[in-house]
Symmetry: C2
Subunit: 338 residues, 2 copies
DNA sequence: CTAATGAATGAGAGCGCTCCCAATATATTA
DNA sequence: TAATATATTGGGAGCGCTCTCATTCATTAG
């Protein structure tokens, strides 16, 4: 069948283009008999309206973009992102939106992708996973382009942008306080990079918990990781000489790497050293020692992000909106409390 | 700035719409001075052509779809899919295509998504990750819709569809032959599901290697897994009573689960029992014991898949094309050969 | 210097839909 | 039954581009 148009369906059903359009879009003011006849023709012919024509005429594409900037593609080994993507995709299905994925590989790609993202007629709105210094540029461009935008994760400069995040400071604070309460004395941390807001916030929570108890902060117990397993492994090796009895890692995957390093050094978990991670992804329960960790609602986070974006699309960009989601400390074996 | 159109740019540059169009699309027959003037106006105004209008007029959307059917979303814990997605996204960037992601969560979603995928004016072509019985329906629909289609993974019925796959039988055959050559006598396998072609093919390779050496096939050494870590774990528990001295798992993630079960049973790897996985994803090297495994070129696979799809779009769907990619056995610690 | 050639440019139709408005059919009321 | 109100339908313009074709302009050869 050569591509059918509204006009073809109209002719076959003996009505006008407009009426077919009404039926297709579910408008109420069509006589039942007519509607039935039109639906029949549509069904028999397998007609689907042309998306581009519809978008052009209505100025709505029913497509959302998800941009994972360069900083993320570097972290792509972290299962967090696939999970987030899943939540977002799920929400898109639910709301009948199509999801366009912009996975930026290189910094040059980022510039190449921007025109496509900001171009009218392709996307109704954009979701950017951010929180890295290097993401500021694309966020700035997107804000200027007036494209409805939601940032997943707190960006460095958050004025005028709507974003959604979890309460990282509070979550880390709780996790480390838990270690203190169990009785650990030398609690180290494998922090995230300083050029990421998550890294900063989670470290802040760690410091807050120590200070709250009047503990001295020992700089040798703080090491920076890069949110990869290997990064966690090497960070732990750097941490070992400082003889920590517990470690708070800023992500599960770094905790896994850190535990590997600890085991290789002959330490038993949690007897000799305790671990707490962050994320509660499936990998947390995969290792021999079940990981105590901060659960963040990844799927829900993705869904909320989409809902926030739809809100911006429907009701305008101002004022910028914020959503901060709660987390939960999940106590398992690796912290020695069970 | 209110949305700019070609006409606006034309007026400002003192030329016609057509000339601006030529400049935007890089046609050669424009005088240098004129081209420069137009480019200047475009640059100053930040004009980007409207995607929908362009698609409607040219009947090309420059967008490809990636469908991950229900069967895959079930397996989404397997890092294979994020990696594949990455390869595909990378290729899309390279060829200036936008990637639309259809992540099917539920079986009902699948029907909801089909009209969007097959609708004209949204996608130029579709990539479906398949190889599961349940995927046949959507593949059938897509073939009927005449949409350029590439299936990633051999589908159950492959007549008339273009697909790309790796040589699973051969790869598994090599892996198991390697175990035999080292000297293992009771080689078990954790196979994939029988309703998936990968599962079937990798098991066939296993059997082929055994038969080649005149080995008796012991059914108690063959257990079916579901391509998840937990599945591998339980499969291994079922396998243990049969006392295998080596296990070929149909995926890395199942091998990881199986090794966990083996360790829990007090077995040392590879001293008491050897393991070989399949995929060679980063997780293969993350555990304490580095996994011997079959490396498949996941990223390259994604790129080739996109290139095949572009070929279909440019040069027509017939005859259906096939690409079978090679694999490589990567020998590490878990097989005891190192 | 003019005719012929080729390159650069502009005008117009059309892609397939939405949406407004006018026209028509039907229902309601006096 | 006529007049009015209301529900249904059709026609037309327009969304912002591409692409063909006719036109104009510059260049070269005779």
């Amino acid at each position: 069948m050569p591509d059918l148009t509204l006009e073809d369906i109209a002719k076959q059903a003996g009505v006008s283009r407009s009426t077919v359009s009404r039926v297709v879009n579910g408008y109420p003011n069509v006589r039942d008999g007519v509607r039935k006849r039109v639906l029949e023709v549509i069904h028999n012919t397998g007609y689907h309206p042309n998306a581009a024509a519809r978008t052009l005429a209505s100025q709505r594409s029913w497509t959302l973009g998800l941009v994972l900037p360069h900083s993320v593609s570097f972290f792509f080994t972290d299962p967090y992102y696939p999970h987030l993507t899943k939540g977002i995709a799920q929400a898109c299905n639910q709301y009948n939106y199509t999801l366009a994925l912009f996975l930026v590989g290189t910094k040059e790609d980022e510039e190449k992708i921007f025109p496509r993202v900001s171009r009218k007629g392709l996307l109704d709105g954009v979701l950017v996973q951010a929180g890295h210094h290097g993401d500021q540029q694309i966020i700035g461009l997107l804000v200027d382009s007036k494209m409805p935008l939601v940032v997943a994760g707190r960006p460095f400069r958050s004025d005028n942008v709507s974003y959604i995040d979890i309460d990282n400071v509070n979550a880390s604070h709780n996790a480390v306080r838990h270690l203190i309460q169990i009785g650990y004395r030398r609690i180290g941390t494998i922090a995230g990079p300083v050029h990421s807001t998550v890294g900063l916030d989670r470290k802040e929570g760690y410091l807050k918990a120590l200070k709250e108890r009047g503990r001295e902060v020992d700089e040798s117990l703080i090491v920076e990781g890069d949110f990869t397993e290997t990064g966690g492994y090497y960070a732990m090796q750097k941490l070992l000489p400082a003889k920590p009895d517990a470690v708070f890692a800023a992500s599960d995957i770094m905790a896994i790497g850190a535990m590997r390093a600890a085991r290789e050094a002959g330490l038993r978990i949690p007897k000799d050293i305790a671990f707490v991670g962050f994320d509660d992804l499936p990998i947390a329960t995969l290792s021999d020692i079940q990981l105590t960790t901060v659960r963040q609602p990844v799927i829900q986070f993705g869904i909320k992000a989409v809902e926030l974006l739809l809100d911006l699309i429907e009701n305008g960009l101002h004022p910028p909106r914020r959503i901060i989601m709660d987390t939960e400390l999940i106590i398992r074996d690796s912290c020695g409390a069970a």
